[in-house]
Subunit: 345 residues, 2 copies
DNA sequence: GATACGATTTGGATCGTTACAAAAATCGAG
DNA sequence: CTCGATTTTTGTAACGATCCAAATCGTATC
């Protein structure tokens, strides 16, 4: 256990060739004679040599890692995203450097500073809430390609940076959900949950408002309810929906967690979601399909988003000078039991 | 963007000192005069230098990373575990190398081989199902400390290896759940879900059987039902419970996913969990608290387990020669609405 | 003003690998 | 056999940091 790590020098010595030759064999170069290659490979197995990629990266001024910084790993949506990222990076022989920030910008700063010292080829960043674009630039610098996922931090000067952006089609998703409810006959539709200051929430609100305006329905200010994007916070805000005169008969929720929380809250208020109140979510987390009632929501396929993010950052690594691109991933409505025609009190 | 990476040589040149001095400043050595330190620090900021930890690690023959290999990242339980690991590693200035295997031993082999080339200081491994201990040893070799989490692969020669092991107290957990049901008056109690070949499932079955025997209740073979440990598979196996004469009135489930699946399946069979059939889970995933009815289960605090795993692997890195240790983490019963007294048909 | 001693600074070798240019080995043709 | 053209192989200088021994700098002491 104490023996030093086996190096190519040990292999070279062990079978009477130079380190350069061993290196060629390791990289499968066609420059080596078959006989020597066989000999070297045998010695490698005999001594249990393992390649030191860090040394190779240093010499070649390359990197074989990509950093993945996630704001909330305990959210199944992001966990699934991370799995997708790792899947694609792994298949391209990159390794994933993980950092989770728990939605703390301070921790995000530390995590990024630490990861950058490992010289990742690129960074996939799902920013913590309230992140600031300028500040992120200052921490990361201009040398590492970045793909920002999901949220758009304010003050990010996209025009002049080379950062890429990947997000969901929040507007269209919320519009689809709203149109679905309108088609069922609802007119008093709330937009429930999320922090309006976040880009994803405001985009979803825009989609919702767009559909309402298009249908000629005026939005009552009391129908816009904020909450932290968690189940618990959402459940606690339920009462706010019924505080006004023209109480809504349906709600477009910020995401599935909020929708599930709202359904719990409704039960506590004696209303049955899917029977006398309609609810939609956003994300289609696994739980949505099996909740009671099953949740009508917008599928976003986080694992596919993860794969996509990995593809894009690797593409960017190969073409660092290209302008930053913005990509909006499609979402599609999955209608389930949580939506029903309106029932008025 | 094309400019080469700034190195300590650039800093040294930029303020007329040697690279050795810059290195001392970077490491906060007390050997440097205050004036030069100030000068060097200013130059570092001016040029936007970032430390290259890979180069330092190479020279020092150290490592500042720990590999985390997870069998199923999309399972919230493991995602939470990963978040705990990363939290502790980050606070100790280590970086997490992530690898997810999706329960495939083949992918696990690739992932481990790739991660080892990055010379992690240690590996935290939650093995894919059907992993083999000997094979894992062959892939990883004897030089990297390993902490195995959650599952115990067969053929692992713990006595002679230095590998550590961290698991949940599966036996006690299942015993607590079973005793809880017995105390409610149940006698016909099933053990539902999981693959009996896995170590965690067989341990839980032992705990269940122990409690039953202790209470003087004989177990009907028809009460032992296997299923893949997913919600869907569990829901589909529900019928198997009611195929026998003496149908059970309660079930101890392999884990929460299985329990939630069973509750769905029960509803489809016209039985109401928590009213006329009692169900317990294992893990206490966030969803358990908010399902309908809320699930009685065993809390294992996966984030704390993650922190614990990180602590232990770092301790092992400092003392590589010590014997491998086995540690069993406590679990505790959380009684909720899914358990009720028995109702016979 | 020479000496000594602690406080700072520094050249140069080194970690494990690869790039490059040049050397050595091999081979077929004349 | 010799010669030129291929194949193979190899010495050596990097990559960016750190270690170590030795050099340099003050400045207090006699």
């Amino acid at each position: 256990m104490t023996r030093h790590r086996v190096t190519i020098a040990d292999i070279a010595r062990g079978c009477g060739v130079s380190t350069a030759t061993v290196s060629l064999v390791l990289r499968g170069s066609p420059l080596t004679a078959t006989a020597t290659r066989k000999k070297v490979e045998a010695e490698i197995r005999r001594q249990g040599y393992v390649y030191n990629r860090a040394a190779a990266n240093l010499r070649q001024r390359t990197s074989s890692s990509v950093a993945l910084v996630i704001n909330d790993l305990s959210n199944p949506y992001f966990a699934e995203f991370a799995a997708g990222v790792d899947e694609t990076l792994g298949s391209r022989h990159y390794v994933t450097l993980l950092g989770s920030t728990n939605e703390s910008t301070e921790r995000q700063r530390q995590v990024l500073a630490s990861l950058i010292e490992h010289a990742p080829a690129g960074i996939i960043l799902s920013p913590a809430e309230y992140s600031d674009g300028e500040r992120l630039h200052a921490i990361i610098g201009a040398h590492t390609p970045v793909l920002v996922f999901n949220r758009e931090p304010p003050h990010a000067d996209w025009a002049h940076s080379h950062w890429d952006y990947l997000a969901l089609d929040n507007r269209r998703g919320a519009r689809l959900a709203t149109e679905h409810l309108l088609a069922l006959g609802h007119r008093r539709i709330a937009f429930f949950g999320g922090h309006a200051s976040s880009s994803s929430c405001s985009e979803r609100r825009e989609g919702y408002a767009g559909a309402m305006v298009h249908a000629g329905v005026e939005i009552d200010a009391a129908w816009l309810v904020e909450s932290a994007p968690t189940r618990l916070a959402a459940a606690q805000e339920t009462a706010a929906l019924f505080a006004c005169d023209r109480a809504p008969t349906a709600a477009v929720c910020y995401n599935d967690a909020v929708a599930l929380g709202l359904m719990l809250g409704l039960a506590a208020h004696g209303r049955r979601p899917g029977r006398d109140f309609a609810v939609t979510g956003f994300d289609d987390i696994p739980e949505a399909a099996v909740s009671m009632p099953p949740l009508t929501t917008l599928a976003t396929d986080p694992r596919a988003r993860g794969r996509q993010a990995a593809e894009r950052i690797l593409a960017r690594v190969l073409a660092p000078e290209a302008d930053g691109t913005r990509c909006v991933a499609p979402v599609h409505l999955v209608a389930r039991g949580s939506t029903c025609p309106p029932v008025y009190d």
